[in-house]
Symmetry: C2
Subunit: 327 residues, 2 copies
């Protein structure tokens, strides 16, 4: 159970005891792990016949990371249940976090069912990374209830949750979502406008486009490019975002000085020179070959590298002021 | 003094006792601080009449960071000297690191003088961020001697140095530069092709273009965007570069799976939707106003924020496996 710590002037302080996780894929399992570790009862609704097996295996894989984050991991599954029928799953819950396939028709169908069956007080959030709440809510009787709560994968580890209201989402629902994710130890960020890809994935896409270009052009290999990033901009952006970085790069004159003296050169010289690659056959073949050289080819390699990455991530989060999930 | 640890098959292991730093601006002072702390004698050549004062103040500002990095900071200036005359400054040095203004004609003039006056064994490197070695070396009798050694600012703190050969740079000089920067505790990365902006600044420009777009469009404020980055992609890219991140994001199928299942959606949906902002008056006014709100307006604010950022940076580098300058 968690109770959000809303500002004092708000009299309604919701308590979350029971959550429904719709869709038991990678994102759904990660949300479930975090919610269980935070003390909520979790029901998972997914039509897959082997869903229990899949989710329990997923939770076993995540438990060590939860422990490193300082969260309890014993008896996690005591409060876990499964209910394939959507309406039954969401009856009596305080929050619904939906992680279904990224298809508008499916999400619209799911949410029409959920809004009829879930309690009136329940927070209704979709993890979608690509479909606006406005579109998903079109078929809902109460579109003001739905909000995007898009986690940066995996939600049990990376702090960001992008909270994106649709055109008709009620402001109270946005605040309720912000409070809920904060109480979970996340760092929610409310967007002021609905845009495709939201913010983090747009930034990631902008950088990755140039990464693909530089590798396709033979300037660096994938491994070399990754090393450039981890030894420069990655280090920087972990402690100060791009605007703060350039504000400090401007010296006493700050960001305005930076723009006049370096930004205009960037605008005139670099922005027009950035690449526009495509994932054509030759590019995909090169990217595939270099990935094999850099990271190995087996499934075990991915698991091992991911575990090492997550350990480093937690060490870094500790160094920067405690893990987001520390009590 | 430092001696590079070149592979055994190379019989020539240069020893660096004395360095010339050309240009005593922010980058030059930072290089000087690192080289002094690493035990080299440093002569600074800069025509400014107040250069001694400026450099000594700069070193005083950097010393605490050097100490936090585990480098000695006592008697730093015992091995520091100044020589405005360029030819005199580089006589007898083992390495020249040039940090002059980013103007081709000035750099060409500097390097014509330096190559005549510096010892034949000296490593000749330019910190330029924007001018190819090929162009700078055009007027040199021995263009094979010049290489770009572009630090990510500030060089005393951030590990990356981009080593970029010009069209005529000798392969031995590239290796010499790589060995020298490694011996300094840096993480040099040799580029395979000369491209405008090299790698790190191109990636930074690609991401920042979308940052400016999202703020100009009112999707987020500067402060909100920075928080998105530090709580998601910044954390990620400090421990794993973009290719490794997406390789792991592809699950057991790795990067090829990522490209097929998410990369193609990025190519079709997000890349075409990315913004193309300009630094027009309205945009600059908005960026300036939001920077003032986010970071304060005074010079003291910049110094204070930069010091806090650098402390966080060092904590992060320690967490990720020791500072790059640890003995």
């Amino acid at each position: 159970m968690i109770t959000t710590t809303a500002p004092d002037e708000r009299t309604h302080r919701p308590t979350y005891r029971r959550a429904a996780i719709i869709g038991g894929g990678v994102i759904g399992v990660s949300w479930a792990a975090l919610l269980l570790a935070r003390g909520l009862d979790v029901v998972i609704s997914d039509p897959r016949p082997d869903i229990e097996e899949v989710v329990r295996a997923g939770l076993d894989g995540i438990a060590p990371t939860l422990a490193e984050l300082g969260l309890p991991t014993e008896h996690l599954t005591d409060r876990l249940s499964f209910e394939a029928d959507l309406a039954s799953a969401v009856a009596g819950v305080d929050v619904v976090q939906e992680n279904g396939p990224e298809r508008l028709d499916l999400k619209q169908r799911i949410w029409r069912t959920v809004e009829q069956a879930a309690p009136a007080h329940a927070l209704l959030a979709t993890s979608t990374s690509s479909i606006p709440a406005t579109a998903i809510a079109e078929g809902m009787a109460h579109p003001e209830r739905l909000v995007v709560g898009h986690p940066f994968n995996p939600p049990h580890l990376v702090p960001l949750v992008e909270v994106v209201p649709g055109a008709r989402t009620a402001p109270e629902v946005v605040e309720q979502a912000r409070d809920f994710y904060t109480a979970l130890g996340k760092k929610p960020q409310v967007l002021r406008r609905e845009v495709p890809g939201f913010v983090a994935n747009r930034l990631q896409a902008a950088l990755f486009r140039e990464c693909v270009h530089l590798v396709a052009q033979g300037v660096v290999t994938e491994q070399e490019l990754d090393e450039v990033v981890t030894s420069s901009i990655g280090l920087r952006w972990a402690v100060a975002g791009p605007f703060r970085t350039f504000h400090l790069g401007g010296g006493p004159g700050g960001l305005p000085h930076f723009i006049e003296h370096l930004g205009r050169g960037m605008e005139a010289g670099l922005w027009p020179a950035l690449g526009n690659p495509t994932f054509d056959d030759a590019t995909v073949a090169l990217l595939t070959e270099e990935a094999r050289e850099a990271f190995g080819g087996g499934e075990d390699d991915v698991d091992r590298l991911a575990a090492a990455r997550d350990r480093a991530q937690i060490a870094l989060m500790r160094a920067l002021g405690g893990t987001p999930h520390a009590a």
